[in-house]
C-alpha cells in the first residue's frame, strides 16, 4: 500500500498556511474521500463543503494541484504526484480552510430579470419541440459549483470587477433565458450595459473547468455577444425583432424586472474604474 501526502491550505480570513497530512492510498478513492478520512482521523476541524458526493450538487469546489475541480469527482489515481495540494477557490473570500464565501453569486442571481413566459395554449399548457429546447437544456445542467466564476480572469485577478460583471455562471443563466422558447424579456441591453458581457475575452477557461461539460464560451457567451451586438448596431435586426417574440427593452427597463439591485452599485452603467482584463 502506497502513501500519499495531502498538502492542504488551513486558515481563515486572517491568513493561514499549508498543513501536510500523510495517509495510505485506498483503491478507488476520490479526493473528497481522502479529505473525509483526514477529518475523521487527523484534523477533525478541517472545513470543507460537500453534499451529494456524485457531481450533482456542486458543493465541494476547490483547487486541486492548481486546477479548479470538484473534489468528489477527482479520482486520486488520476493525479500523477505523491503530494497533492488542495487550496480553496481563489476568487472568493476565505471563510475557513477550503470553505469560501460565495455570496457574490447569490447577490448576482438577484440581478437577473426572471423567466417570464408568454401566453399558454388554450388548454393552459405549453408546447415546445425537443429540438428547440436542446440548447437551453444544456445550460440547465449547471450545478452552480462556481468553478467557472473561480477561474474567470475578469474577477479572479480584479476584485473591483465583481461589481460590474455577472461571470460565466450567470452568462449561462442569461443564455438559458434568452434561448428559452417561452421567455419574453429582452435582457440584451442589460447584459451589455450593466452585467459586463463585454469584459469576457473568450479565453475559454470556464469551459475547460466545467464539470458538466457545458460549452460555456461557444454555446452561451459567444451567441450572447452576437445577439447583444445585433441588438445595438445592426439595422437588419429591426426586421428580426419584428418576428421575434420579444420586444426590445432598454437596460433600465429590463433592470426594473430584476428581483433586486445590489450590484452594480451604480445605475449609470459600468464606470471607468472597472478593469479590462
Amino acid at each position: 500500500m502506497t502513501e500519499v501526502t495531502m498538502n492542504i491550505w488551513r486558515g481563515d480570513s486572517n491568513g493561514g498556511n499549508f498543513e501536510q497530512y500523510k495517509l495510505e492510498r485506498v483503491e478507488g478513492e476520490v479526493v473528497l474521500d481522502v479529505v473525509h478520512r483526514i477529518q475523521a482521523t487527523l484534523a477533525p476541524d478541517l472545513a470543507c463543503r460537500w453534499n451529494c458526493k456524485a457531481g450533482k450538487c456542486g458543493s465541494c469546489s476547490a483547487e486541486i494541484d492548481g486546477k479548479p475541480s470538484l473534489m468528489c469527482m477527482t479520482r486520486m489515481d488520476t493525479l500523477p504526484n505523491d503530494t497533492i495540494t488542495i487550496t480553496p477557490m481563489k476568487t472568493f473570500p476565505i471563510i475557513k480552510d477550503l470553505v469560501t464565501d460565495v455570496s457574490f453569486n447569490y447577490v448576482m442571481a438577484r440581478q437577473i430579470p426572471p423567466f417570464t413566459p408568454g401566453k399558454p395554449q388554450p388548454d393552459g399548457t405549453y408546447r415546445m419541440q425537443q429540438v428547440d429546447i436542446d440548447r437551453a437544456q444544456e445550460f440547465h445542467k449547471c450545478i452552480e459549483c462556481f468553478l467557472c466564476q473561480d477561474v474567470c480572469h475578469v474577477i479572479r485577478d480584479h476584485e473591483v470587477n465583481k461589481l460590474y460583471y455577472a461571470g460565466p455562471r450567470f452568462f449561462v443563466k442569461l443564455a438559458s433565458l434568452e434561448m428559452h422558447p417561452l421567455d419574453t424579456v429582452d435582457r440584451r441591453a442589460l447584459m451589455r450595459e450593466y452585467l459586463g458581457l463585454g469584459f469576457c475575452n473568450i479565453t475559454k477557461c470556464c469551459t475547460e473547468v466545467c464539470p458538466e461539460h457545458i460549452k460555456i464560451t461557444d454555446n452561451a457567451i459567444i451567441p450572447l455577444k452576437e445577439r447583444v451586438v445585433d441588438a445595438s448596431y445592426d439595422p437588419i435586426a429591426w426586421l428580426g425583432r419584428k418576428i421575434r417574440r420579444k420586444s426590445k427593452m432598454t437596460a433600465q427597463e429590463a433592470y426594473e424586472l430584476a428581483p433586486a439591485r445590489v450590484a452594480p452599485t451604480s445605475l449609470d452603467g459600468i464606470p471607468a474604474t472597472a478593469v479590462e482584463d
Binding site: D12, V26, E27, G28, E29, V30, D33, Q39, A40, T41, P44, D45, L46, A47, C48, R49, W50, N51, C52, K53, A54, G55, K56, C57, G58, S59, M73, R75, I95, K96, D97, V99, D101, Y106, A109, R110, P114, F115, P117, P120, G124, T125, Y126, R127, M128, Q129, Q130, I133, A136, Q137, H140, K141, C142, I143, E144, H180, L182, D183, P259, A260
Partner: protein, 603 residues
C-alpha cells in the same frame, strides 16, 4: 462556555420554513405569495438540497404518453405500492394535484423532455401502470430545485444558508412558535420567532453505512417534531433502493436511477439469469410478465404485454437482490448486474441517462454503454414521519406543519419511484397554505420560551467544554455500523433488541463527545450537533420495527415473513409525553367506498 440570553440574536417572521429542498421552497412560494414574511433556513448552500439528487422523474398522470392514465390509476398504483398502509386522502390529493404542479413548474421555466407533439414526455417507472414520470434525462431533481430556487429568488424570499436548527421552541401554552439554531460559518446562535413553522427537512439515510443520501439527511425534522411531542407514524418503514453503486467502496450506496430499468435495463445474477422472474409476488402476478419474451415486448407496447418484473416496486426488487447475493449468485463486489447496454445504443444511453454514464465512467471506470453495472440495495428514503392532516399538513402540535420526506402517511409502507418529487410540490404547496392560514389567524406576537432556547444552546456547546472525550466521527461510525447490521433491509427481533441496546449505549456516549477547534465552520462540532437527531431517529425506527411483527413494504421481518392483515389496518404511532416515549397501534383512516371500489378486482 455558558450561553446566556444576550448571546443569542433573534429575528421575527410570519413563517419559518426549515429546509430548502423542493417541499420547503414550494411552501415558501405559497406563503410569500400571500404576502407573509417568510424565512427559509437550510444546512447547506441554497440550491444544494437533496432534491438535487433526484434523478428519474416526477410522477403525474398527465396522460401525454398514455391518454388512458388518470388520477385514479395513479392513486391505485400508489396505494398498492404502499401496501395499503398509506393515508388514502394524501394519496388521493397527491394523484389529483400532481399534474397541475408539474405544469406549474413548466410555467416557471422548467424544461422537461418533450414528446413528438411538443408536450411533456413521460417515462416508465417501477409500480406505475403507465409511463407517468415527467423528466429531464436523469437529472429531474436538479431541474426542479433550480426552477423553484429562481422562482423563490424572483419573489424576494429570504433564504438563510448554512444554518443548523437545534430545537423547535414553544410558547407557554405549547404552540410551536420558533426555533433556535446556529450559523455554520460563524458558530453564532440565532433564534427565529414565527407564527407557524414548516418542517421540510427531508430524509434520514445518514444513520446507515450505505446510503444514497448526503450528510444533511440526519433526520433533523423527525427528531425536532418528536421532541415537541408530535405524533410520528410508520417509523419502521424505511426504503432501501434496490440499485445503489457497490464499487468502489468509497461510493458504495450512491444512487443508480430506476430510470435505467424504466428505459429497458434488466437485472441479472452471476449465472446471467434474469432472476426477477423468480420473485413475482401474488399481489402483482396478474399484471407482471412471466417470460422474458413478454417482458421484452412490453417496453414497446404496454397494451399487448404485461410489465417486466424488473420494474416491480422497490421493496420487492431490493429483497430479491438481497436474496440472490445471499444465495451466492452475486457480482464480484457483492451486488448483482444491471445491464442497459444490450437494449440501448451508446448514443441513446448517453442521451437518456447522461449522469449515470458519467457517474460510472468517472467514479468506477465502468463504461455502461458496453458493460453492465454492479448494483445493490442502499438506504434511500423514509416513508414514515410526522403525522399530518392530509389537507393542511398540520402536525398534531399546534403551529407545526410538515411536508415532503419528513411527513408520514403519503407513501404507506413503500414509496413508488417518482412519487417523491410530486409529493414535495403537492404537499409543499398545501403546507404553505395551511401555515399561512394558521399565521393569519394568530393574534399577538410569538413568544417562545427562552429557557428552552438556552437549554438547547448550552447542550450544543457542551462538546467544547470537554477536551478529552470521544470523537463524534467514531460515534457516527458506530451508529452507522449498528443500523446497517441490525436494522437493515431484513430484520429480526433479536437483532432489533441488540440495536436498541447499542443505541442506548451510544446515547450515553453522546454526553462525552468532545470537539477541538473553534465554533467557526467546524465540521466535527457540526456533526456533534447532528448526532442527537441521528440517534433519536434510529431509536424510533428500531422501536417501530420491533412492534410491527409482520413484513410489509420496506419493513421486512425474517421472523414474520408474511403480511398480517390485522397489522395492515394500523399505523404504529410514536410520541413523547412528559419525557416518556410511547408506541401504540392506531387504526388507519377509513377509505370511502367509492375509492375502495378501485381495488375490488383484487382478492
Amino acid at each position: 462556555m455558558n450561553i446566556v440570553a444576550s448571546d443569542i440574536t433573534s429575528q421575527s417572521f410570519d413563517i419559518l420554513i426549515i429546509g430548502a429542498g423542493g417541499a420547503g421552497l414550494r411552501a415558501a412560494i405559497e406563503t410569500r405569495s400571500r404576502g407573509l414574511s417568510t424565512a427559509v433556513v437550510c444546512k447547506s448552500l441554497f440550491g444544494k438540497a437533496h432534491t438535487v439528487m433526484a434523478e428519474g422523474g416526477i410522477a403525474a398522470s398527465l396522460g401525454n404518453v398514455y391518454p388512458e392514465d388518470g388520477w385514479k390509476v395513479h392513486f391505485r398504483d400508489t396505494m398498492r405500492g404502499g401496501k395499503m398502509l398509506n393515508n388514502w386522502r394524501m394519496a388521493q390529493l397527491h394523484a389529483q394535484e400532481a399534474p397541475d404542479r408539474v405544469l406549474e413548474l413548466e410555467a416557471w421555466g422548467a424544461l422537461f423532455d418533450r414528446t413528438e407533439d411538443g408536450r411533456i414526455h413521460q417515462r416508465d417507472f417501477g409500480g406505475h401502470k403507465y409511463a407517468r414520470l415527467a423528466h429531464v434525462g436523469d437529472r429531474t431533481g436538479l431541474e426542479m430545485i433550480r426552477t423553484l430556487q429562481y422562482k423563490a429568488i424572483s419573489m424576494g424570499i429570504e433564504v438563510f444558508m448554512e444554518c443548523k436548527i437545534l430545537r423547535l421552541l414553544t410558547d407557554s401554552s405549547g404552540n410551536v412558535c420558533g426555533a433556535i439554531g446556529y450559523w455554520r460559518p460563524s458558530g453564532d446562535l440565532i433564534l427565529f420567532k414565527a407564527k407557524a413553522v414548516i418542517l421540510a427537512t427531508g430524509g434520514i439515510g445518514k444513520s446507515w453505512k450505505y446510503t444514497s443520501n448526503s450528510w444533511e439527511s440526519t433526520g433533523d425534522g423527525h427528531a425536532l417534531a418528536f421532541q415537541v411531542g408530535a405524533d410520528m407514524i410508520d417509523m419502521e418503514c424505511v426504503q432501501f433502493h434496490p440499485t445503489g453503486m457497490v464499487w468502489p467502496l468509497s461510493v458504495r450506496g450512491l444512487l443508480v436511477t430506476e430510470g435505467v430499468r424504466g428505459d429497458g435495463g434488466v437485472l441479472r445474477n452471476s449465472n446471467n439469469e434474469r432472476f426477477m422472474f423468480n420473485y413475482i409476488p401474488d399481489m402483482f402476478r396478474a399484471e407482471t410478465a412471466d417470460t422474458e419474451e413478454e417482458a421484452d415486448r412490453w417496453y414497446a407496447d404496454h397494451s399487448s404485454a404485461r410489465r417486466t418484473p424488473d420494474l416491480l416496486p422497490r421493496d420487492e426488487v431490493a429483497r430479491a437482490i438481497n436474496s440472490e447475493v445471499k444465495a451466492g449468485r452475486g457480482s464480484p463486489h457483492g451486488g448483482v448486474f444491471l445491464d442497459i447496454a444490450t437494449r440501448l445504443t451508446p448514443d441513446e444511453i448517453k442521451r437518456k441517462l447522461p449522469s449515470m454514464y458519467t457517474q460510472f465512467l468517472e467514479l468506477a471506470g465502468v463504461d455502461i454503454t458496453r458493460q453492465p453495472m454492479e448494483v445493490g440495495p442502499t438506504c434511500h428514503y423514509m416513508m414514515g414521519g410526522v403525522r399530518v392532516d392530509a389537507e393542511t399538513e398540520a402536525a398534531t402540535v399546534p403551529g407545526l406543519f410538515a411536508a415532503g420526506e419528513v411527513a408520514g402517511g403519503m407513501h404507506g409502507a413503500n414509496r413508488l419511484g417518482g412519487n417523491s418529487l410530486s409529493d414535495l410540490v403537492v404537499f409543499g404547496r398545501r403546507a404553505g397554505i395551511g401555515a399561512a392560514d394558521h399565521a393569519e389567524g394568530f393574534s399577538g406576537t410569538p413568544e417562545p420560551e427562552m429557557g428552552q432556547a438556552l437549554e438547547a444552546a448550552n447542550e450544543a456547546m457542551r462538546p467544547f467544554n470537554d477536551e478529552n472525550g470521544e470523537s463524534p466521527y467514531t460515534l457516527q461510525a458506530d451508529l452507522q455500523d449498528c443500523m446497517q447490521r441490525l436494522v437493515g433491509i431484513i430484520r429480526t427481533e433479536a437483532e432489533l433488541r441488540q440495536a436498541l441496546e447499542k443505541i442506548s449505549e451510544l446515547k450515553d456516549r453522546l454526553g462525552r463527545v468532545s470537539v477541538n477547534g473553534g465554533k467557526q465552520y467546524n465540521p466535527s462540532w457540526n456533526l456533534a450537533t447532528d448526532l442527537p437527531s441521528m440517534l433519536s431517529l434510529s431509536e424510533m425506527v428500531t422501536r417501530g420495527a420491533l412492534e410491527r411483527k409482520e413484513s410489509r413494504g420496506g419493513h421486512t421481518r425474517d421472523d414474520y415473513p408474511q403480511p398480517d392483515p390485522e397489522l395492515g389496518k394500523v399505523n404504529f404511532v410514536q410520541r413523547k409525553r412528559d419525557g416518556e416515549h410511547s408506541i401504540q397501534p392506531e387504526p388507519l383512516l377509513k377509505m370511502p367506498d367509492e375509492l375502495k371500489a378501485l381495488f375490488e378486482d383484487e382478492h
